[in-house]
């Protein structure tokens, strides 16, 4: 596509040595700090994949009208302020195959994210995926993921499920039978991404204190690294994959330590550092979700990562919305979708509720300046999707999908696109190519029909 210039620039990124120097070169505005990992001329493109559970209510979801003059449906109505940045994608099917292991919600997640199938790997109780997911493919391509401290960030507002199955709580896979589950607690996510050295905040640190703490932390990490090496020589191939992940995490921490002063936006998120009572997880569902999304936003802004996934909850979500949305039946969300007494009404209300929160986030993203002053949303592609079309019975055709953000990728907003007979695999193929990742097919090559025409200009 038209990404040649960007890709050349990406290769010319600046090494991340200058965390301190960059932090002190703040140029008066805390947002105008060029992040340590970014290119010289223009901001990189980021990808945010947002999963929203349990499909949709077709009669309240589908928009009427043509590509540009469509009328927003009740469920999509909360996105009205973002219409110029939104593409509604209809008609795509998740290419789930027959008789794969595990239940439908998890299968939809695995096939959407990986293009592959669920497997029962030897020695595993849990169903997993047979290959890596799209976020991992893109994050490990330096041309797309860059050399950011965090290769990719995976957060979720809730992972409780009324089934004890890991694969309903996971979006990302680093390879066959290698799930990368999300962090769920904002406080833990904040500490990992922005905590760096300073468990009590970045602003109070003096340079000398920082240097000493940095040296201690690095010595600890060195000790851990030799510990991993010691084990590495003694274990088999499967264990080495897991130890590689441990080494990656050590490297990530080292890179974060080097960058920890360059993310001034993190100071705005310090309220996230309070622990929340797990009993409140339902009542604070929206706050949890927005907290995570704002961590991702700030991590993007500071170029700590360029690829992120966020899940509101598993398809088997037990979130009880009755206190969040007056009138919704007093039972878990997943239960409502199967046996609620007022399903269409309640599910519509829940989808609208989710979309209101996401619209709030996307507006913040739009209003957040990137380091060159442009809008962060302009340089981000946000993909919102669901693992099934209907909460019950589960179907995989015509999955509800919305894309947001445009200028960086020439995604012309304000459009409704219908792709009959195509799969979500081809959507990822199109997106990967647009992001500059070369790919012939995503998923089953025999069913691949090439990129979706007209999605990007």
């Amino acid at each position: 596509m038209t990404q040649t210039t960007n890709r050349l620039n990406r290769r010319a990124f600046l090494a991340g040595m200058g965390g301190l120097a960059l932090g002190s070169a703040a140029l008066g505005s805390k947002y105008l700090i060029r992040p340590a990992g970014a290119e010289t001329d223009r901001p990189p493109t980021r990808l945010l994949i947002i999963h929203k559970p349990c499909g949709t209510v077709p009669e309240n979801y589908h928009c009427t009208g043509g590509e540009r003059d469509f009328t927003l449906s009740p469920i999509l109505e909360p996105f009205a302020p973002l219409r110029p940045h939104m593409v509604v994608v209809e008609g795509l099917r998740i290419a789930k195959r027959e008789r794969t292991p595990g239940q439908d919600h998890g299968n939809g997640m695995v096939t959407f994210m990986t293009g592959g199938v669920t497997i029962k790997a030897r020695g595993f109780r849990t169903v997993t995926a047979d290959r890596e997911s799209i976020d991992h493919i893109l994050a490990t391509d330096r041309g797309v993921g860059g050399n950011t401290p965090i290769r990719s960030l995976h957060l979720a507002a809730d992972v409780r499920s009324d089934r004890d199955e890991l694969f309903t709580r996971v979006l990302s896979y680093s390879g066959r039978a290698s799930p990368v589950p999300p962090e769920t607690r904002p406080v833990a996510a904040y500490t990992r991404v922005f905590g760096g050295l300073f468990s009590d905040g970045v602003d109070r640190a003096t340079l000398e204190h920082v240097e000493r703490a940095r040296s201690r932390r690095k010595s600890i990490l060195d000790f851990s690294r030799t510990g991993v090496e010691r084990l590495y020589n003694r274990v088999g191939a499967a264990e080495r994959i897991r130890l590689d992940a441990h080494v990656d995490a050590i490297r990530e921490t080292e890179r974060l330590i080097d960058n920890s002063l360059s993310c001034a936006g993190a100071a705005d998120l310090t309220q996230l550092r309070r622990e929340v009572d797990v009993e409140q997880i339902d009542d604070l569902h929206g706050e949890f979700g927005l907290a995570h999304l704002n961590i991702i936003r700030t991590a993007f802004q500071c170029d700590l990562t360029r690829i992120a996934t966020f899940a509101w909850g598993p398809g088997n979500s037990p979130i009880n919305f009755s206190r969040l949305i007056p009138g919704v039946e007093n039972m878990g969300y997943h239960t409502i979708t199967h046996s609620g007494s007022n399903r269409a009404h309640d599910e519509t209300a829940i989808h609208r509720w989710y979309n209101e929160r996401m619209a709030e986030f996307l507006i913040t993203l739009r209003d957040t300046p990137d380091f060159d002053g442009s809008s962060l949303l302009d340089n981000t592609l946000v993909v919102v999707w669901s693992e099934v079309r209907l909460g019950s019975p589960h179907t995989f055709d015509n999955i509800p999908i919305q894309l947001f953000g445009h200028a960086g990728l020439q995604l012309g907003g304000g459009r409704l696109l219908r792709f009959a007979g195509r799969s979500t695999n081809d959507l990822w193929l199109t997106i990967a190519n647009a992001l500059g990742h070369p790919m012939e097919c995503f998923g089953d090559a025999q069913r691949c029909k090439g990129p979706l025409a007209g999605l990007f200009d």
Binding site: P182, A188, S219, F223, A245, H338
Partner: protein, 566 residues
């Protein structure tokens, strides 16, 4: 090792006479099994019995509870952040060894926990130091601390390189502060290092050098230190206690009778008993009780007090079954002897039965009417967990029996076409009639004929586990897959009896606890060990405690397959 279990088993049987009773009870279905097994056990020299395959040599990340317990066993009571491995929910029964890895999120959490623990420990260093830095000098005292602390944290001796690195860390910390700062940094480093975070099942490092000569069959034996850790994590959910550490240090733990004696010792410890009680509660899913949600308008009586009363009953009952009644599955599934307080007595409608109960805020032992309350399936806690927020569900209850006692996977829900096709016929049916429809209709019966009959047996109990009689029909006909025999039953008392007598159910229960002990699905890795544990389970009145007692005696406990290193 193989002889040990049989000596102990027969000794126990003859003392209790329980083995006799059981063999008589199980004459029908089990006799042939026993005969084959007896031949196997008697004629074959136990040492020659090898598994078709063993679990591969591996590392296994500590579970979140093991991580916290280990830190507290090393440092005493410290406040710790709630470390949660991504992907894990708090009530999980099995901690999967192959699954969990230290990614960025977890490393960050480990760091926070290590820092917090080290800071607190350094504040009261006199309690953790084996020496006084003023008396013998800071260097010597730091070295003495490292020599004592690091091996216990790593569950193995540390080598010179590790000690030198830790001393260097001590000096770095001391340079920035004082002696305590040095100790703090050492503790912080140890608590987030792989030696602490991973359990190893790799055998002795020396064996790596010459694997073929020492292990022609491609198997390795765990070191005494690894054995001690296996035992301690299984029973204490933490690092080895003093006696285990001593038995690892003098290598005596590799002797089967020493290991067996430690198992018996551990099983008598209150801490172990409490832990295994929790394990059984997690298996039953009653742990989820505290999160169970009900429609407050329809079920206002389900308040926190009732929730606690329900949870207390099951917790006390499980503990009593495990430790005062031999751990028998029969007791667990059929006993009417339980523990209730006044609130639960009123809930069960038995507050007039016992004058002590009717006023007691603490649960007291009672014998309830076995027609209504027999075994854990009839506990309000379990029945509450198995309901939706306002109604009882034949399907959920049936699926629970399928999963927990029949080891059947949960099938996919029906397709839209099927639901649409049957919509006309099912309109207006009661939920019991719906179940009969699903059982009797070809398109549904493929799955529901093994789900719904078990759920129907629960019909006498409402969504909060109250007994109800009006218009209730809990009669049903069940077949336990594998056993083949059809049983006409009426209610949970009958269901409990059928489950207890089934060999397939016994095999399923044993499998689940073995999967828990080894943190993985067991395919052909442990067929022989599984058979022996099943045999022992059947011969000990299906004792859950005996599963735990027997596991360390099995060949797969101490043996691992060498793994490919491509």
């Amino acid at each position: 090792m193989q002889t040990g279990i049989f000596k102990r088993f027969f000794a126990r049987s003859s003392i209790r006479g329980r083995g006799e009773v059981n063999r008589q009870q199980s004459v029908g279905g089990v006799s042939r099994y026993l005969l084959v097994f007896a031949l196997l056990a008697c004629e074959q020299p136990p040492r020659d019995v090898v598994e078709e395959a063993y679990i591969p040599a591996r590392i296994w990340l500590l579970s979140d509870s093991q991580h916290a317990n280990a830190i507290r066993d090393l440092l005493g009571p410290v406040d710790l952040p709630d470390v949660r491995t991504p992907g894990v929910t708090g009530d999980q029964f099995i901690h999967e060894a192959a699954l969990h890895r230290v990614g960025g999120p977890l490393l960050s959490q480990y760091h926070t926990a290590a820092r917090m623990a080290a800071r607190q420990a350094a504040l009261r260093r006199d309690q953790i130091l084996p020496c006084s830095p003023e008396a013998i000098g800071p260097q010597a005292c730091a070295r003495a601390f490292i020599d004592r602390f690091a091996p216990r944290a790593f569950r193995r001796p540390v080598d010179r390189d590790e000690r030198d690195q830790l001393m260097a860390l001590f000096e770095l910390g001391q340079r920035d502060g004082d002696f305590s700062s040095g100790i703090e940094l050492v503790i912080e480093a140890i608590l987030q290092s792989p030696g602490f975070l991973y359990r190893t099942e790799l055998g002795a490092p020396a064996d790596d050098a010459d694997p073929i000569a020492r292990h022609p069959a491609g198997v390795i034996t765990l070191t005494p230190y690894e054995l001690a850790a296996q035992l301690s994590f299984l029973f204490l959910d933490s690092i080895p206690d003093e006696p285990l550490w001593a038995a690892a240090s003098d290598r005596s733990l590799s002797q089967p009778e020493v290991l067996a004696a430690h198992v018996d010792r551990l099983l008598a410890l209150p801490r172990v008993r409490q832990h295994l009680g929790t394990v059984v509660l997690k298996w039953l899913g009653v742990d989820g009780m505290r999160m169970a949600k009900k429609d407050r308008r329809r079920l206002p009586e389900f308040d926190d007090e009732l929730r606690e009363s329900m949870a207390a009953e099951t917790s006390l009952f499980v503990s009593d079954v495990l430790w005062n009644r031999g751990g028998s599955l029969r007791e667990l599934l059929t006993s009417s002897r339980t523990f209730i307080d006044a609130r639960l007595a009123a809930h069960y409608g038995v507050d007039s039965v016992n004058s002590t109960v009717s006023v007691s805020t603490d649960a007291v032992p009672v014998e309830l009417d076995p027609a209504q309350r027999a075994g854990i399936l009839t506990h309000a806690s379990l029945l509450t967990v198995l309901g939706t927020s306002r109604a009882r569900s034949i399907v959920y209850r049936g699926l629970f029996i399928n999963r927990l006692f029949l080891c059947l996977p949960e099938p996919a829900p029906p397709t839209i076409e099927l639901l649409q096709a049957s919509a006309g016929e099912t309109r207006g049916l009661s939920h019991r009639e719906l179940a009969d429809y699903r059982i009797g209709t070809d398109a549904c019966a493929g799955c529901h004929r093994t789900i719904d009959p078990f759920g129907i047996a629960f019909e006498n109990y409402d969504v909060l586990g109250r007994w109800q009689t009006e218009d209730i029909d809990a009669t049903t006909s069940i077949v336990i897959p594998g056993d083949g025999q059809r049983h006409r039953i009426n209610g949970l008392r009958d269901l409990g009896r059928v489950l207890v007598k089934s060999e397939s159910v016994a095999a399923c229960v044993v499998d689940q606890f073995m999967q828990r002990a080894f943190g993985r699905h067991l395919g052909n890795e442990a067929t022989h060990s599984r058979e022996r544990i099943k045999y022992h389970f059947l011969a000990t009145d299906r004792s859950l405690v005996e599963i735990f007692r027997t596991i360390p005696d099995m060949p797969i406990f101490a043996t691992r397959q060498r793994s490919e290193r491509r």
